[in-house]
Symmetry: C2
Subunit: 333 residues, 2 copies
């Protein structure tokens, strides 16, 4: 059995391109005692992966030169020498850009297909949905009647953030990049309003959509968009810094010039690390699965077919801005 | 009795200059029932006043065209029609850039000269010292053994922040603009270390001064300096946004490019408004006065003589960076 692996060849400058990676092929080893071998079925396509390809800031996900790229994968156990897993089990875990992964099981979550189909475990019930849940509720703490604005609102995390805000009684306003996406947010997902950031007068549109100003910002984008949103912040506003997709592919970072509103509005800008809430993952997955069953939370996956070698192009497509919902690649067997 | 008043004539572009103000002279009215007339003895010279001269952001301190500039003043009641104040009482309050002010007393604090001399009530026991106290302890919450870095450390607020950090058992590191100021911080005020931001290798110096990274940043400066400090932030670091002196005189604001460390370090950047703690001002003033008596808190005033018309030049001197401690102008009678 041959394993095809995509490895980082050099640190990208700007957007990551195919030439920044190389392909290696090696035999899949038999699992040692306690280990399992997983065959990848779906690989998560996340904008944040770009930051892990940079040198510099210490961060547990930084990818070394020559290493496979550390991304979430959903797949099937094809060989097991572990008492905890059987051949045929479906699992998710950070198994990286390779067709087969050997794991001691510590980083694997066994998936209950009765709760949701396998792709959902990479999306709404995966780290994506958990990021939305814990970031919004633990850091943003929206109160009923308050206004939540989320950027990249039609993306994997953003679309879940807005729906959870509504479930908790807050007003959800999404910012995204097309009229089609705006319609999806308001007509399909029940957002209270949506704003197209390509509008000729973004601030005016945002102001109309947030008559009582903004109590909670869930930011995935950064850049000038975040600055515009900061102008509409309410007293004691909370800005959850989840990502900065507008800044991932550039070395000339745009810092939020309006950060001094933190001082004038006694506001707060804060980040979080999802693994701090690991002991609650199971319970929250069950809670969110129930919301899905009740029709209160709608999840959408954008599944594209490909093979491991296509991963860089998939990342490019994500950055092109056409994606709606959770993007992932189904690995052609 | 003639009152000389400095009023805003136009919104400054860049640094405020004498031509941005005009002088008016009018008779001091007799106090109406309930009112007092206060003669200014000391006027506070604060960098933050520059932000109140801009249009735009709603903020309770914004100065209108034609208005006196809203700054803290310490002075003496020279006429009283209020049962709460007697002629000869010393008071502090936001009486503005004028020799005499009429007040209904609501914004005045009667001063206890047994606790501290009058200038101290504009500095360490005034809003300046209270800003240091509440910002550091309520927002930064330094724990014993943690590292606190304060910028503009030899200034009015910064010099108090570092000393309170030490009183609470934290390690205090000051960032300032000269070797003389560094020596004052470490040798006179007991800071654990001081760093000159003009150093050819500021990051290296900061790293040496903060071997365990930085738990709390009390920032008065902003700009590239804040970015350098963010590179040394510890997990769960707290950045108190108090001011941004480096950005007050420019329209081309520098936003903190390294703000994404908030996400990777689960850190927080937060502002505060001192008036939220108004009901504790008296108690904290007594606590701080006791620290001064015990020799644990050293306060320094930089008192320059002048008249109301000199106010713009005084502000310029403050920005030149030669000031140490709390700068104020003693009004020549």
């Amino acid at each position: 059995m041959l394993n095809t692996q995509l490895r980082l060849a050099r640190r990208p400058s700007g957007e990551a391109v195919t030439g920044d990676f190389h392909i290696s092929r090696e035999a899949v080893p038999d699992p040692a005692p306690g280990q399992v071998v997983v065959r990848a079925e779906y690989i998560s396509i996340d904008p944040s992966v770009r930051t892990h390809l940079n040198a510099g800031q210490s961060y547990r996900s930084m990818v070394g030169i020559g290493e496979v790229v550390d991304v979430p994968v959903a797949g099937e156990v094809v060989a097991s020498a572990s008492p905890l897993f059987s051949t045929g089990d479906k699992v998710v875990g950070p198994l990286g850009t390779q067709e087969y992964a050997v794991s001691d099981g510590a980083n694997l979550t066994k998936v209950d297909l009765a709760l949701a189909p396998l792709p959902v475990w990479l999306g709404g019930l995966g780290l994506t949905g958990l990021t939305a849940y814990f970031g919004l509720l633990e850091i943003g703490k929206p109160q009923p009647g308050q206004t939540v604005v989320v950027t990249a609102a039609s993306g994997a995390v953003g679309s879940v953030v807005g729906q959870i805000a509504r479930i908790k009684g807050a007003r959800a306003v999404g910012v995204c990049g097309s009229e089609e996406k705006c319609r999806w947010l308001t007509q399909e997902l029940g957002f209270d309003a949506a704003v197209n950031y390509r509008s000729p007068d973004l601030y005016r549109d945002l102001k109309e959509a947030t008559p009582d100003r903004i109590d909670v910002v869930f930011d995935n984008v950064g850049g000038p968009l975040l600055d515009t949103i900061l102008r509409r912040l309410a007293m004691r506003g909370r800005i959850i810094i989840c990502g900065a997709t507008s800044q991932y592919n550039t070395a000339d970072i745009y810092g939020p010039k309006n950060y001094m509103v933190l001082a004038t509005l006694r506001a707060r800008m804060e980040g979080f690390i999802i693994y701090d809430y690991e002991d609650r993952f199971d319970a929250v997955r069950r809670e969110m699965a129930q919301w899905v069953k009740d029709g209160r939370l709608k999840l959408r996956e954008n599944i594209v077919e490909g093979s491991i070698v296509d991963y860089p192009q998939m990342l490019h497509r994500l950055y092109e801005g056409e994606n709606i919902g959770k993007m992932m690649m189904r690995i052609r067997p």
